[in-house]
Amino acid sequence: MRKFHGLVLALVMLCVALTACASPQTGTEAGEEGSSPSGGQAVLIIPEEPATLNQYLAVAAIVRQVADATNTGLTTVDADGNFQPMLAAELPTIENGGVAADFLTVTWKLRPGLLWSDGAPLTSDDIKFTWEAVSHPESGNVLSLGFELIDSIETPDDLTAIVHYSAVNQAYLQQFMFGLLPRHATGEPAEMSTWAWNRQPVGAGPFVLGEWNAGENIVMQRNPNYFLAGQPYLDSLIFAIVPDTGAQVAMMAQGEAQVQLWPGETKEVYEEQVAGQAVLAEIPGQWNMALYLNLSKPFDDDPSASAPHPILGDLRVRQALSHAIDYDLIVTEINPGVSPTVSPFAYGWYACDVARPYPYDVEKAKALLEEAGWVEGSDGIRVAQGALHAEDGTRLTLQLNGYTSFQPLAKLEEALVEMFKAVGIETTIQNDDFSILFGSYEEGSPRKLGNFDILVYDASLPIEPQAVIDNSFHSAAIPSPENPSGANYHRWVNPAADAAIEKAGSTVDIAERQAAYCELANLIATEVPRIHLYLFTEGYGASTRLSGYQVNIWGSLSWDVQNWKLEN
């Protein structure tokens, strides 16, 4: 009996001791008042782990969400869509002499006294190195920033970099936005994809990497050499990798985490779930969900547009697909809380108001399919009979390819399957991991090789869209062995579209460029290489203790992390 009591007592003491050890170390720095807003540690929940912290190698959006905390570039874009100088002393303009009248020379001046996180001086040579690394053909760079338009960079002194362009680059302010690369702490440009720096960056951002516990979390400490005096206010950040939404919400509701990226819920539902511990800070976002139709024949060992897709090669079928989708149902019931879109130009200075040319109309869809030579079969699925590109007897079967681990996308796909079935199209779903869907040409990614029917995923446009638009819609941008970085996955060849893209790229006049983009938007809507659906809202769950943050669709989760403060 006595032994039993002793055992229980020991167990109780053990539990108490363990609980004390397990309680999180949040709190202010030693010597500061308990109610001071500065100091402290913020836990940020991310649903997946970034593969790298080098934004130039980032295929997935998650990289930027984390990497912006460790690295800063010459400029940033604020929530109103205006460029602001960061490492640069001021924005180069024609008025201050930073930009030459012919736009072929841009002079950047750095703030004096800049240091990298390891204490080494940050100079104009690092700007030059960033260009050398990112523009190197074997570096693995995936961002279309126009680095190939730079002829040379002169560095007459440590604070000045003069960039000489071979052609006008409308994106000159955006060019060095995603972080400068330190020459002394990285390596050879050709080896950028294997730099140790990618997992242990030396940057100019507000925080510096402390520990990276793969699969668990990424811990960062304040960068003592950050260029803004007195900032960041927080002591440390922990990016906790928690894939399960239920666990994420539980952590927020219990105050164990202060920020939850992409909660995927409407505001009312979310704030109820976190029981008042957090709010959902959100705005209409940048991520535009669309269906990408393959206009060329898949699985024919030919990535080019030469042979048309047996089903989707016929414009009438694409129009019918467009008519078959209940757009209202999608934004109200299937993925509630999103804003409908008709074109890629759905925000920013280039936003275009395009009317949907083929709205929801089931009868129209059926009529078009009949006209295109697809007659209804015995089981309700259409079969080719006199179709344009398909042999008689071919079933009207299409495969939807999306990415895994994202419930809203899975739900959308299932809804689309039903909508297409109602007009006689059989649709199967095959979702792949990010690495397969968004892989490179060399890796044999289906979208690069043209081995798919319909892709469904969300993509975004940066503040300077020309490079991305050119690489996504121009007929010269079809991925091939000669052009593996091409992104015209639909294999769309349209001379009028090409002309509009070239016009938008040939001038710096904003109004002219926008007109050209709107022309392109109309062509996309009527020729249907893509069907645009909606914009996700951008935002994150933020603890009521957190202040100083601002949701910015042009930035990332951590774009202003140097301004964040935690109350106690």
Binding site: V249, E418, I429
Partner: protein
């Protein structure tokens, strides 16, 4: 006269085995439950609802009189989907086990009977498969099988069956190899050799029948493994693709709604739990029934 005595003895052995099984109460109950599961899966088409009929305005309704198991995130009837899901999951369980056991028996028999370099080779292959990290095997096989567009467009069920078989053939292989190793030393085998019976016939007609009890017991374990692995595959996106329901992908979808609509998780989870428990108990009963030294 000799024949009839022999026959009577053979009958009573079978009868003995049966009697031993019938005395294992848990196994009997499990057999009844499993029969009920299979029956309910078969009568799935009797449901007034279609498994894929969506009604998004009526989503996430808790269990009620019109929807006994509630509705899911697209307004589909959960009971109907669970019943149809049972068809797929049980079918996958059975077929994957069949394939896995077939491969395992062939590998194990060859290795155990012939011994020597063949045994070494086959056992190293088995060891290799045992030590491969499951995830890599899954991704590799899934990707390889989807390079063949004919297969990917038609049947994710086939892909899942193959994947599960590849993941589980090693255990029957080892078991059968052990049995063959010991059985081939027995006198009846030597006698068959002496009479001039070929290797194939000895393995197939003489030794294999003596291992059947072992194989059957292992197979019941593999059925349970298959059903659970199918759920695991769905979490990773490699399982049965929606909108076709399977218990696995129903569970995977339910995860996102765990707090808001727990019935989406409870019912498929319960089905998997009951079925695998029942199959395991039947395996126990069979093992005891075949064991002549069991005290019952």
């Amino acid at each position: 006269m000799h024949n009839s005595v022999g026959e009577r003895q053979a009958q009573s052995l079978r009868a003995l085995t049966l009697r031993r099984f019938l005395r294992h109460r848990a196994a009997l109950l499990s057999l009844a439950i499993l029969a009920l599961m299979v029956l309910s899966a078969l009568v799935a088409p009797l449901s007034p609802y279609e498994p894929t009929a969506q009604n998004p305005a009526n989503d996430l309704q808790p269990p009620s009189a019109i929807h006994w198991f509630g509705t899911d995130d697209l307004g589909r009837d959960v009971l109907t989907r669970v019943l149809y899901g049972g068809r797929i999951s049980i079918l996958v369980g059975l077929l994957a086990t069949l394939l896995s056991t077939a491969i395992g028996v062939i590998v194990g028999a060859l290795a155990g009977y012939f011994g020597g370099w063949l045994d070494n080779l086959l056992m190293r292959v088995t060891d290799a498969f045992l030590s491969l990290p499951t995830l890599f095997v899954l991704i590799l096989i899934s990707t390889m099988l989807r390079e063949v567009p004919a297969l990917s467009l038609s049947n994710s069920v086939a892909v899942v069956i193959i994947v599960i078989a590849v993941l589980s053939w090693m255990w029957p292989a080892r078991l059968v190899r052990g049995a063959f190793l010991s059985l081939k030393e027995h006198e009846f085998v030597t006698a068959a050799h002496a009479v001039g019976v070929g290797h194939g016939r000895i393995m197939w007609q003489h030794i294999l029948p003596n291992t059947v009890s072992l194989i059957i017991v292992q197979a019941t374990l593999t059925i349970a493994f298959s059903i659970i692995t199918e759920s695991g595959l769905s979490y990773l996106g490699f399982g049965i693709q929606p909108p076709t329901p399977s218990w696995g992908n129903l569970l995977a979808t339910a995860q996102a709604y765990a707090l808001r609509a727990p019935w989406l998780m409870i019912f498929p989870g319960l089905m998997i739990f009951i079925t695998t428990l029942a199959v395991n108990h039947i395996g126990d009963g069979l093992r005891d029934a075949f064991d002549p030294f069991s005290v019952r």
